[in-house]
Amino acid sequence: MTQDDSVPIEEDPVLGGPGRLRRMPPHASRVLWLGAALAAVSVQAQTAPVASVSSAAGDNNGIRFGPGRLHPYLDLELRYDSAALYAPVNPADPASALELKPELIMHFRPGFRFDVSGTDTSFGLNAFYDYVWYTGALTSGSADASRSEAGADMHGEFNREGPVEFDVGDSFSRNAQPHDIGLGLAVISLYNQLRLTVPIRPGGRALEFRPHGEYAVEFFGSYSGLPPGAGACPAGTCPPTASDPSSADYQQYSGGLDVHWKFLPQTAVLFESSYEGRSYFHPAAGAVPPGSLLKLRAGMAGLVTPKIQVVLKAGYAIGFSGAASTFIFQTEGTWLPNETSAVTLGVLRDVDPSVGAASATDLRAYLNSRTFIIGRLGLHLNFAYDLISFTQGRGQQDQLFSIDLGPEYAVARWFIVGAGYVFSKRTSDYASSLPLNYSRNEAYLRLTFTY
């Protein structure tokens, strides 16, 4: 790959920048507008129940905004990343072998959270912009990897007290962490997911039917070049040209019916069904066609004692178009020693569509723990191990390991200091593919100013 073939890493601090928007596929702007319009409609819909909204939020911080409270915040984060980017061993020779280089990365993350809490209607919107600045302090030239990220998450629940509830949610993100695990190189992901659920609770509300539907799109923009030294790319997981990963752009739709029956106030047996399908907007020639899945699960969820909460689900995924047909399950136990602490241990096996393969089967073991002590100090420890088996296409296994721990301390109600350490590792049968084989150590210090 020559210099001319490369696509400059983003330098515009504005979300995507004008040039960035031009490079995006036409669907991308539609998704942006759809998300914005949906959020606007939802906010407007909340105007009516102003009188019924609880005034409890009035005692909290935040700016009173209509029926809710608006909480602006600013995160300043300094992060050391031992695997910030690949750079030539010999900086003077771009064609030389690549090695992982560390860097100090600054995050400037302004955002806001808008909450409307009520017994019959609730609404929440959290949105932020994040400028990721590679300082160049440890690796010369890394500033070219600086980029703009953003995220938003909206949810609204209407008529919660009635026999028919209506829930809507939307998640939007733009970052370098794609939602599809199959992609074999670093990209900028533009993702949006819309969720609709209509819980129906006839009679005494112990029995609940939850028809639901989800629609997601993900567009990939070029972020990383793919020099020869980056190694082989698993078949179908890399675009024909690294400068145009849009061949993996996809839309994913799913829907189904869940049934919950609370045989105790805090414990329910459940049945879940969903059908998941995917299609690529403009697939490359010879690309692996996407599979689709019908998942059926049954089990129970809830409290078995006042201190122990469990999720036990087991079922079968029926794969179509080459997707895996296999058993799926989730076994999770949570210990709740007090109101502000929880320790969760679980094992999960699930199947999802994936780029470069008809499907990816994930076997995960995880531990999540959090506690909040002396009213100001929070501690968390998270661990996860994923064994991912790709079917038809890539046909290999990847392993992901991560551990994340650290404290958070509320110095004042408006000022929170957080720190932590994260270790993550990914290995693949495609050992020669650098983007799929890396270890990363991260340490961070985060200052959060909020109102």
Partner: protein, 189 residues
Amino acid sequence: MRASFQLGLLTALTLLGAAPARAQEPVKAPKPNSTQLERASDVPDPEKIRRSNAAVSRMRSVLTEVLGRLEDARATKDVVKLNCVNEKLTQVKGLLRISEQSDVALQEAVGRKDVTAAEHEYSKVSIARNKVEQLRNEAEQCIGQLAFRTDENLTVEVEVPSGLPTEDPTNPKSAAPPTSSPPPASPIL
């Protein structure tokens, strides 16, 4: 003839009210003032008229009270209490109607100097007044549906364990697929 019919009706209403009154276990109603009946002949005619008017007024006020209790029972949609109060109200209305007629008849008898008729009408009003007071007490003791199904002294204490999760534990969030952020590499670096 008419006077004997009214006296029979009064007796019937009195007996009718006695049975449900026992079923509700009312407080012991005062017995009809036999002394007052026996001594009706000793009461001067003008005093008979005055006492009769006062008794009718009192019975009207009792009717208003019982009507109020009926409205309360209807507002709370308490069928048991509504039926109980309505039964008392029906009897009060009948007794009041008889008493009003006897009050008029008493005044006519006094005007005619008919001592026997005057004493008879005066006795009817006196009996009706006592009976209405008894019905008023019974109406006060009409108990509601909830109290009927449980003991009035029953208290229910619900203990909710502390530290329960605030989110619905029967509806856990679905596990998200794993994500990864491959390090970027660019030939321009």
